[in-house]
């Protein structure tokens, strides 16, 4: 079979698997988020946790629960890393330094999974499985909880209640993430991924060299790392590491896992608002952007566009694994940067200027195609609100979306949401570039070096976590700056989303009239796609021009 046909087939097979999952998974998540019945096991958890599962929370209470849970998580994870050498299964690892501990705690709690450490030489097994991997579950569940509250804002009327955070968190974790992660972790092991509690053991190779073989509960972490769009690798090489991702089948499966929940949530949305067509419209926008990105990155890599190293080697294989090749690497790269995953099976720093630039652009879109678990959907719904507003301005009508009027208060929250992340990215990257010592941490020089800095802040603020990994980010300045970028990039937008949810829930829906903009037709799909590209393009064009564009045109 020739390369092109095989490349296309793996994309088609992926689309087929995602299409088959869309309805059952989306409907199931909608059911989990709306049913009045608690499982008996869940009642036990609520009792142990000391939370009241039978109250509906007002949005500020819901928000305070989210923030309290996340704050406690950051402190817990920080302490866990600082004390790991006193705990079980430390496999000889020292206490993690304070700067790295803060950065890592912020990173995993915010679903970013930026890693300023190398897993195999920093983290013991207990921190990996009972610290980091726990956040893989719950940070993903928090994202879905927030979007559930936003959707309730659309579906409820004349109320100040948006749901119960503890119930949403627990149900998503126990009923959705845990069973799926369990099944796919076993599949990954069967296909070759490692899962043990061994430390590092030394062997003698064929030629008599010493080699240290690493162990660890890898597959169980790998499954939730992809499923929850987290992306933090057990090992430094992340999903390029053969123990995490041993062959092209596991690779395909991991891409499926990191996309499946986010691509199915529009169904959940359509289901909950009582009109599946609304879900399909959102899905269409996500799918269009994803497909375009996969195509463009693949073309850039296949043809070594503007890469002298690629031309010298005869192919863009620097930073890529032989078992994956170009197609399986670019499919992963596009998917991981368009979701908030940030796992990598190939190293974006060595991609062609166009291919690498597109991975940055993908994150700049705000990770909405399909985005992180939950965060992707609330991100694109905010953009849908902006799109409806723009259309409303054109015809001079008060805009409305799904029967709710978008007045000044709603638009303020939506605008603040849109402005937050670019502000963090551009101020952060600008500050780093203006500081001589921090600028010096880039590995490559010229426009590509700037791209490394821009990538770092884009990745942190959008909670992606992948990197142009040549940059050295282990200093206190970088650990702190990026840690703060992750925290602000995660929680400020959440505040605006929940405030918006509260504001929408209060309204009595307005009836649909002939003047209402239909938000389920191709026209709206086009409008929303256009708004996304224009808003992001205008915001980031100057920064992109200095980095990847300058390098590509050089």
């Amino acid at each position: 079979m020739n390369d092109t046909l095989a490349g296309w087939l793996q994309i088609i097979a992926l689309l087929g698997a995602l299409a088959l999952s869309y309805r059952p998974l989306g409907d199931y998540i909608a059911h989990v988020l709306t049913t009045a019945k608690h499982l008996r096991a869940e009642r036990v958890l609520y009792r142990l946790g000391g939370v009241n599962a039978d109250v509906d929370q007002r949005w500020p209470v819901y928000l305070r629960s989210v923030l309290a849970f996340s704050a406690v998580s950051v402190f817990f994870l920080y302490g866990f890393q600082r004390l790991q050498n006193h705990l079980l299964l430390d496999i000889g690892m020292k206490a993690v330094p304070p700067g790295t501990s803060f950065n890592t705690a912020a990173s995993f709690v915010t679903n970013t999974n930026w890693q300023s450490y190398s897993g195999e030489s920093t983290m013991g097994h207990l921190v990996q499985m009972a610290g980091l991997a726990v956040q893989n579950f719950v940070s993903a569940a928090v994202g879905i909880a927030i979007v559930a509250a936003l959707i309730r804002g659309f579906t409820r009327r004349r109320t100040d209640r948006v749901g119960n955070f503890w119930v949403d968190l627990t149900r998503i974790t126990v009923r959705v993430l845990l069973p799926l992660a369990f099944v796919f972790a076993i599949v990954l092991v069967a296909a070759g991924a490692v899962e043990n509690l061994h430390g590092i053991h030394e062997i003698s190779t064929l030629v008599g060299d010493k080699q240290s073989i690493t162990g660890g509960p890898v597959a169980s972490q790998e499954a939730i790392k992809e499923l929850g769009t987290n992306g933090g690798g057990f090992y430094n090489a992340n999903s390029a590491h053969p123990f995490e991702n041993p062959n092209a089948f596991t690779n395909w499966l991991e891409i499926y896992l990191l996309l499946v929940i986010s691509f199915s949530l529009p169904r959940t949305f359509g289901r909950m608002v009582g009109d599946n067509r609304q879900g399909y419209a959102i899905l269409a926008v996500m799918g269009l952007i994803w497909a375009a990105s996969v195509a463009l990155i693949t073309i850039n890599e296949l043809h070594s566009v503007s890469s002298s190293a690629g031309h010298a080697a005869g192919g863009m294989l620097e930073g890529k694994e032989q078992r994956f090749g170009i197609w399986a690497s670019t499919l992963f790269a596009a998917s991981t940067t368009l979701t908030s995953t940030g796992a990598v099976n190939s190293f974006h720093d060595s991609f062609s200027p166009g291919g690498g630039g597109l991975t940055i652009f993908n994150m700049m879109l705000g990770e909405i195609a399909p985005g992180g678990t939950g965060s992707g959907l609330y991100g694109i719904l905010i953009l849908a609100i902006i799109a409806v507003f723009v259309a409303g301005l054109m015809v001079g009508r008060t805009p409305e979306y799904l029967g709710k009027k978008l007045g000044g208060r709603e638009m303020k929250f939506a605008s603040l949401y849109i402005l937050t992340t670019p502000a963090i990215v551009l101020i952060g990257a600008g500050t780093a570039m203006s500081l001589k010592g921090e600028r010096a941490n880039m590995l490559n020089s010229g426009p590509h070096g700037f791209s490394e800095v821009l990538y770092a802040f884009t990745s942190a603020a959008n909670n992606n976590g992948s990197a142009f990994a040549g940059i050295t980010v282990t200093s206190d300045w970088w650990n702190t700056a990026l840690g703060l970028a992750m925290l602000f990039g995660r929680f400020l937008p959440m505040i605006f989303v929940l405030a918006l949810a509260g504001s929408l829930a209060k309204q009595q829906p307005v009836p649909v009239t002939s003047g209402t903009l239909p938000t389920h037709r191709p026209q709206f799909v086009g409008l929303l796609t256009g708004v996304i590209l224009i808003v992001v393009g205008l915001t980031y064009f100057p920064a992109l021009a200095l980095g990847p564009l300058a390098e590509g045109l050089h």
Partner: protein, 209 residues
């Protein structure tokens, strides 16, 4: 929980308790259950697909190794490694095939140092294998993503057959057959790329002599 405490304190206490409860489920029970099943049902994979020779572990099929000649001076960390012609050679590695330091070079697509390195590697590989530099495949001159890539392309494997056969005094046809035995086609017929596993191939080679 005493309701006399301020609401914010109660809120954070509940948050901590919920975190601990979920930590037990997702952080202890879940990974241990997966580990238990993995060890019972798929112990070969779960323990790293280790390969044995004469009853001793000599590596993992999934983790590449260096196949260099012994150092002239074992105490000199700066001595450049010299590939051993008797073995099939893996791809260049940014981390010297050290599993405690996995990772890529992260050199940019137009980095002059990378371009220079690639050209030097190409010339060296061509001379070593006795082929035209134009025919050296890309995987032979580029460092992998993991730094542990155990695989090479079919083209790079077959390029090395004559050199290995000559160094070992083996029939090239027999070596070519070994390569074919260790060649993997695309997973499920269309996923990824075909590849030859260098560790397994060299284990087979060691038995062949």
């Amino acid at each position: 929980m005493p309701s006399s405490l301020p609401a914010a304190v109660r809120n954070h206490m509940a948050a901590l308790r919920m975190l601990l409860v979920l930590t037990v489920i997702t952080g202890i029970v879940y990974p241990l259950a997966v580990t238990g099943i993995a060890q019972a049902a798929f112990s070969h994979q779960a323990n790293g697909s280790l390969v044995h020779q004469n009853g001793k572990v000599v590596g993992s099929s999934l983790i590449g190794q260096n196949f260099d000649l012994p150092k002239k001076n074992p105490n000199d960390p700066n001595e450049a490694p010299r590939p051993d012609p008797k073995w099939f050679q893996p791809r260049p590695s940014a981390g010297g095939y050290d599993p405690t330091a996995s990772g890529a070079s992260n050199l940019g697509p137009n980095n002059p140092d990378l371009v220079k390195t690639i050209k030097e590697r190409k010339a060296a590989v061509a001379a070593f294998d006795g082929v035209n530099p134009k025919d050296v495949p890309a995987d032979a001159v580029t460092a992998s993503g993991s730094g542990l890539d155990p695989d090479i392309s079919k083209a790079y494997a077959y390029e090395q057959v004559d050199r290995v056969a000559k160094a070992r005094g083996l029939d090239p046809a027999a070596v070519r057959e070994l390569v074919a035995d260790n060649t993997h086609s695309r997973a499920v017929g269309f996923l990824g790329e075909p590849y030859v596993n260098v560790v397994d191939l060299n284990v087979g080679l060691a038995k062949a002599k």
